[in-house]
Symmetry: C2
Subunit: 436 residues, 2 copies
């Protein structure tokens, strides 16, 4: 394998034209789409139109005339297509945290009706903190316990007191991916419902929520969906649950007016809308939704090029190339791969542990290679030693929509240069104490 081979791979890549759909800065290797996706070229013009024409000229009339009222639903249908759900099943708006609050609340309400003795929310110790914080609060307010386990111990911990298993499909630090179908099956067999967080998988790996018979899911708009900083998030519920909630008034607690069955009747009592619409709360930002819709249009453009299956194949090829190159070129510099080598177990990102991870990432960024640093944390051990939790990590996201093979190659070379030269040891990259 040579750099020219990478250039040849890019030349032959049928997804390569999609890179032109993004406005990427010159001289930057952007490997942080796992944190904030790049800007689709169409977005600026769309926002200019929504602002000057739809808002400025159309004013209040644009809720109908420009279709603002249906915008979130249209985006939801596009997202549904990426995660194995059906049109009309996905609600878009609010943040991932707020949507998780809705989904987990609904799952707990269902279990309270069906299995009131179950008093545990089970999750993974390495889950993204906001998920754990939301679960912690809902556990406390419902008189439940939050049980955190190592990923490898989840099956053992799925005891008959577990009401809900709440997992993030792809771990934000390690890139390790759960088998969504298998975990769902195991949880159902144990009598638990499952709430999935697809923050690091929607748009990055194939997801089949209906095929897996999953219960609830939430996801993020600003990472692999390229919806812009703080883009609206989404929530999905299986129709068997929303259908039951229709009859039995099992509600999610954020009962805002746009989740009402007839919001413009301005009736004094809440009557939830049918289906997923009851998960809508207040008025969503039209500007933010318009940007997210542009991000989703890139996925529609990917369909003729092989769609999600082709994107997944390229993502795995990119991350494998990067792992191979880093391991070949950066030996003896204290790097340890924490992302699974086995393709089926990893998402679209690669993380290496390094004791000087913070400084190494700063040195890379100075060279124009933008990834992420994620610090290690031992403050809540679960009894099982886990270097992946303890270690400081370098994280690299490989967004197959715009990342080239030559980018993966070059990023590995930069990493080697940073480590070989020792430039990361410079005082200017030293980690400062957080301002409190």
């Amino acid at each position: 394998m040579t750099r020219d081979d990478c250039i040849a791979l890019d030349r032959d890549d049928r997804l390569a034209p999609l890179r032109d759909a993004f406005a990427l800065p010159e001289g930057i290797l952007y490997l942080d789409g796992s944190s904030l996706g790049a800007l689709p070229r169409r977005t600026a013009a769309r926002l200019a139109h929504v602002t000057a024409q739809e808002w400025g000229q159309g004013l209040i009339r644009s809720w109908n005339d420009a279709g603002w009222i249906g915008l979130a639903g249209r985006i939801g249908d596009r997202i549904a297509g990426l995660v194995g759900a059906n049109a009309g099943e996905v609600s878009v708006g609010d943040s991932t945290s707020v949507n998780l609050f809705k989904a987990l609340s609904a799952a707990l309400a269902l279990q309270k009706a069906d299995a009131p003795a179950r008093d545990v929310i089970l999750s993974e110790r390495g889950n993204f903190p906001t998920d754990l914080y939301i679960a912690e609060t809902l556990a406390a307010s419902n008189g439940l316990k939050l049980r955190l386990a190592h990923a490898d111990d989840l099956v053992d911990q799925l005891t008959n007191d577990v009401a809900v298993l709440m997992l993030t499909h792809v771990n934000y630090r390690t890139g390790r991916m759960h088998d969504l179908a298998e975990r769902t099956r195991t949880a159902h067999a144990a009598g638990a419902l499952v709430v999935w967080d697809l923050a690091h998988s929607a748009g990055a790996v194939p997801v089949d929520l209906c095929g897996a018979d999953a219960d609830f899911a939430v996801g993020c708009g600003y990472k692999y969906l390229n919806g812009g900083p703080g883009a609206p998030a989404f929530v999905w519920a299986h129709p068997r649950h929303t259908g039951r909630m229709d009859r039995e008034q099992l509600r999610q607690p954020l009962s805002g007016w746009l989740g009402h069955a007839a919001p413009f009747d301005f009736a004094p009592s809440y009557r939830p809308a049918v289906g997923i619409t009851r998960f809508v709360c207040g008025t969503p930002s039209v500007l933010a939704l318009a940007a997210l819709e542009c991000g989703m249009e890139v996925f529609a453009a990917a369909e003729p090029h092989g769609g999600m299956a082709a994107l997944r194949a390229k993502s795995l090829a990119l991350s494998e190339l990067f792992i191979d190159r880093v391991e070949a070129r950066c030996q003896d510099h204290g790097l340890a791969l924490v992302t699974p080598r086995q393709a089926g177990q990893r998402g679209s990102q690669v993380s290496f542990a390094h004791a000087g991870g913070y400084a190494v990432m700063q040195a890379l960024i100075e060279r124009g290679v933008i990834g992420d640093f994620r610090g290690g944390d031992l403050s809540h051990p679960t009894g099982r030693a886990d270097p992946a939790l303890a270690a400081d990590l370098l994280r690299f996201g490989f967004t197959p929509l715009y990342t080239r093979f030559v980018d993966a190659w070059d990023a590995a070379e930069h990493l080697r240069a940073v480590l070989e030269s020792g430039e990361w040891r410079s005082e200017r990259f030293a980690r400062r104490a957080a301002v409190t």
Copy 2:
């Protein structure tokens, strides 16, 4: 009073230059800033910069380099200045409904600790429905009762079982304004806390939350603050409450990661930030915040022209002119003023009841006079007859930042023409049944 007198008033109006800060469509009299404020001229350029430069070129680095991380706080400080709060006391992000959920939850938690026997949330029957829906759900989940009273009966209903009085400062239908200080005083004397919804008052009328010693408040970004469709909302809590919550862990339930004391530590347990920051949940939309900041900058530009006091004086003069003209010109056409004539009791909008309100508003809109229709509703009587609740209403918002005296004059003339000609009786303005 003649139309020429209105032109003279506009010529002499020291706030008149502020109209140039807005991009208003030609030939439209926009009297719906009470529903969606107009587009500030600066907003389009700002959004273009945030999109192309900060997101497109800066990418993830812009959270620090472009100050995204502090954006919500900077806007919160500007809003604080409009509502009589202090810098650092207002959190911006999420919808009004979600913020009300946070504020009401926090108020109930405080009362549960201090006065657990109080089991009533008291509100106004004519409150905006989303407020009632959120209160309904929180009442049910906390084992409380939601008591709805007519505005005139609120004092009588403030019995010793009321935990929280939840009111909207200016009523969305009638434009009637509560005396915020007096209501707060009465509630405190009765042992209740007060949660204020400033959706129709922030930016429209002077508000002095600290002067009134209020407890909690929320408000809307897309009406009088001109932040764009679905703009982020805000929440305020008196420091005596956030200070107590610091010590006693009285939490609001949306415990997302950006409300954590140290979000980038990624610690597994929630530790709420000091002060109002604990009311932040997930990541806010930077695009939506940037647009809202442009809306707030217009208020800063109003300061040298007399600021909120001058805006209030102009708003009252505009609405009084409109009321006078409509009553003088539209007699015998079945209009009935439902907005208080007394200046101290009305916000920045004027509503007239009319049996054909829907069609009359459609006819006005066809003429380029954009107001709002709000249908009547008798489905939840509180025992006191209230024509303002039952009637179909024409609502006209008088945003003093960009509405001219001649606009108020002309709007009244259009209303006369619609009623005199009977054009509103045309089949094309007939109210269609809502699609279910």
